[in-house]
């Protein structure tokens, strides 16, 4: 008998601790509650957007009935669509089952949440900047109304059905207290037996790799977490656990659950660069700016820029490991895709004293506004960097936000001064 009858679904998901499995790890219960309040439509994302990921395809292939059941629970009568890449076996499988589908062009950014919502509304599959969470709708950068849409990853949707059928206690019996529940991992790249495993956070990375056929003394560098993740040396893969806490010392993360073993014969950093170039090439233009909003890249790229200098030789396969104390998180910005040192940042001219507006420090009780950049609307005027401390321009003239806090007066000035109207206040990051 379904446990869902005793508790509202969102509460049940909260109790289970289910979070988004597409890489965002946002609590599904909270997202669902928001969707109910805004009468959102549902899009189940089965695109496997993260390069190398196969788990959404696996869910559609192996657990379609439960996936559809989960979607029904989440939608609660609202329209549902299943998004999959054009030409994929997943799309064919969904169609064969008679499900309403959303055919997504097979590009890196096209399966991003707001890109799917744009496509579903008849627009292009390119990211919009959601100034309010897309589940509430709101308006895009050009002022057009956005349909409130709940976009949920296929694995997450399947887990909803599982939680409803087996209960939160069963769910929490897997994984770690911080990251409970079973979760899928895709083993890809240079592994003898690539594929999808149903596992849980906290497992030793070495055990996962062994399941894919890589013995303990293997020589493969590994990318954990895909383009949002990081690179581990063969030695580090022996020590790391597959969880946020276990991977963060190496600059890596769970992300969308991909674990990719690299070719041991060529420089791993060149392979990393190839992946960044690939994602950038698929994105280009304004779309990639929407995905490049990684707050930490100035720090990470400093580390990245040091390592390739020693590892540029094709013969070098271990030098890169010695050159850096920690894992090399992939700089999550596509355009340019060249290693950038901190020196590459063009500092806005003028001393802090000469600037008319300055960031206030977060004193207790001080009123602070958190500013964000609409990466789609931004056209690189750079006015924000001239007005705000803590904002610099990258070599192509687009803002890098080192500190998003501003006093209300400063925030109002910058919002009005931006020629592209791309600066907006947003709720502070809660996590």
């Amino acid at each position: 008998m379904s446990v869902a009858r005793t508790l509202p679904l969102a509460d049940l998901l909260d109790e289970a601790g289910l979070t988004g499995r597409g890489g965002g790890a946002f609590p599904t219960g909270a997202k669902l509650r928001a969707a109910r309040s805004s009468h959102a439509e549902l899009v189940v994302n089965a695109c496997d957007g993260e390069p190398g990921s196969l788990k959404d395809a696996w869910v559609v292939r192996e657990h379609l009935a439960e996936l559809v059941h989960g979607a029904g629970l989440l939608a609660d009568g609202a329209p549902v669509r299943f998004a999959a890449h054009r030409g994929s076996a997943t799309l064919a499988g969904l169609r064969a089952a008679g499900l309403p589908t959303l055919e997504v062009p097979p590009r890196y950014v096209s399966s991003q949440e707001s890109a799917l919502v744009s496509l579903a509304a008849g627009g292009l599959a390119r990211p919009m900047t959601a100034r309010v969470p897309i589940v509430f709708g709101g308006r895009d950068g050009s002022g057009r109304a956005v349909t409130p849409t709940l976009v949920v990853n296929a694995e997450t949707t399947w887990r909803v059905a599982q939680v409803s059928q087996r209960g939160p206690a069963w769910f929490r019996s897997h994984g770690t207290p911080d990251e409970p529940g079973p979760r899928l991992v895709t083993l890809t790249g240079h592994v003898p037996r690539p594929g999808v495993l149903d596992t849980a956070a906290g497992i030793a990375l070495a055990d996962l790799l062994a399941a894919g056929g890589l013995e303990r003394d293997h020589d493969r560098p590994v990318i954990a977490g895909g383009l949002a993740g990081g690179l581990l040396t063969p030695g580090e893969t022996q020590r790391a656990r597959w969880s946020t806490a276990g991977l963060s010392p190496f600059g890596a993360c769970i992300g969308a659950g991909t674990i990719e073993a690299l070719d041991p014969r060529t420089c791993p950093l060149e392979q990393v660069a190839a992946r960044v170039h690939g994602a950038a090439g698929e994105s280009a233009g304004s779309a990639v700016r929407a995905c490049s909003a990684c707050r930490r890249w100035p720090a990470t790229s400093t580390r990245c820029s040091r390592a390739p200098a020693r590892a540029s030789s094709r013969r070098c396969t271990t030098g890169w490991a010695a050159a850096r104390p920690r894992g090399v998180p992939l700089p999550r910005r596509g355009r340019g895709a060249r290693p950038l040192g901190a020196a590459g940042l063009r500092q806005s001219s003028g001393s802090a004293r000469r600037r008319r507006v300055s960031v206030v420090s977060a004193q207790p009780g001080a009123h602070v506004v958190h500013l964000a950049v609409d990466r789609v609307a931004c056209t690189g005027h750079g006015v924000c960097a001239a007005l705000l401390d803590g904002w610099v321009l990258d070599p192509e003239g687009y803002p890098v936000v080192l500190d998003d806090r501003a006093s209300p007066a400063a925030a109002a000035t910058v919002e009005r001064m931006c020629p592209a109207r791309a600066i907006y206040p947003r709720a502070p990051r809660s996590r």
Binding site: L124, R139, A284, G285, G382
Partner: protein, 189 residues
């Protein structure tokens, strides 16, 4: 100098100043939209000057229009303030001036309210600035008659400067035009 004379001379002077300011605002705006060179603080300054000068034009335009209606040498009535081609004096050229005034009010009001209206609406109205300016120049050259050649030469100078700015904007591609073209050429739906 009689009051009427004073009004007439003031109208002439504020008219030519309005045209010079309008040309300056246009040129700064064109530079902002077409170029990404220069330091961030220089760009912030240009942005601010473009905006405040644009707002400041209003003062001179109001003086120009009110004085020419109030003075009695030429027959321009209050109706000509809003309705083009209604004046007894130089119906065509004064009518162009009325057109400029109407469009200018739209551009200034939408810019002042920019944070409250859809970006696309603002952009559409703002682009009419490119049509407004040449009409203002024609109005200025046609009516800038005087015993001193200063008025007409000021108008011609504005025509050359603004024309060069617009030509530059049309010839120079957007700073990331190549990237936009590459992105747009992909399959996105």
């Amino acid at each position: 100098m009689t009051t009427n004379e004073l009004l007439w001379v003031t109208s002439r002077a504020t008219g030519v100043v309005s045209l010079v300011l309008l040309t300056a605002v246009l040129t700064l705006g064109v530079a902002l939209s077409g170029s990404r060179s220069g330091s961030a603080s220089a760009r912030a300054t240009v942005t601010a000057v473009h905006r405040w000068l644009g707002l400041g034009i209003g003062t001179f335009v109001v003086a120009h229009v009110v004085t020419v209606i109030v003075e009695t040498w030429v027959d321009i009535g209050w109706l000509s303030l809003v309705l083009p081609f209604t004046s007894g004096y130089e119906r065509l050229w004064v009518g162009l001036g009325t057109l400029v005034l109407d469009v200018l009010v739209d551009v200034v009001v939408t810019s002042a309210l920019r944070h409250r209206i859809p970006e696309r609406a603002w952009r559409l109205v703002h682009l009419t600035g490119y049509a407004l300016w040449p009409v203002a120049v024609i109005h200025g050259i046609a009516l800038g008659t005087s015993t001193t050649p200063l008025l007409r030469w000021a108008s011609i100078g504005c025509a050359l400067l603004g024309g060069a700015a617009i030509a530059w904007r049309l010839l120079v591609p957007h700073h990331d035009a190549r990237q936009r073209a590459t992105a747009a050429a992909g399959v996105w739906s």
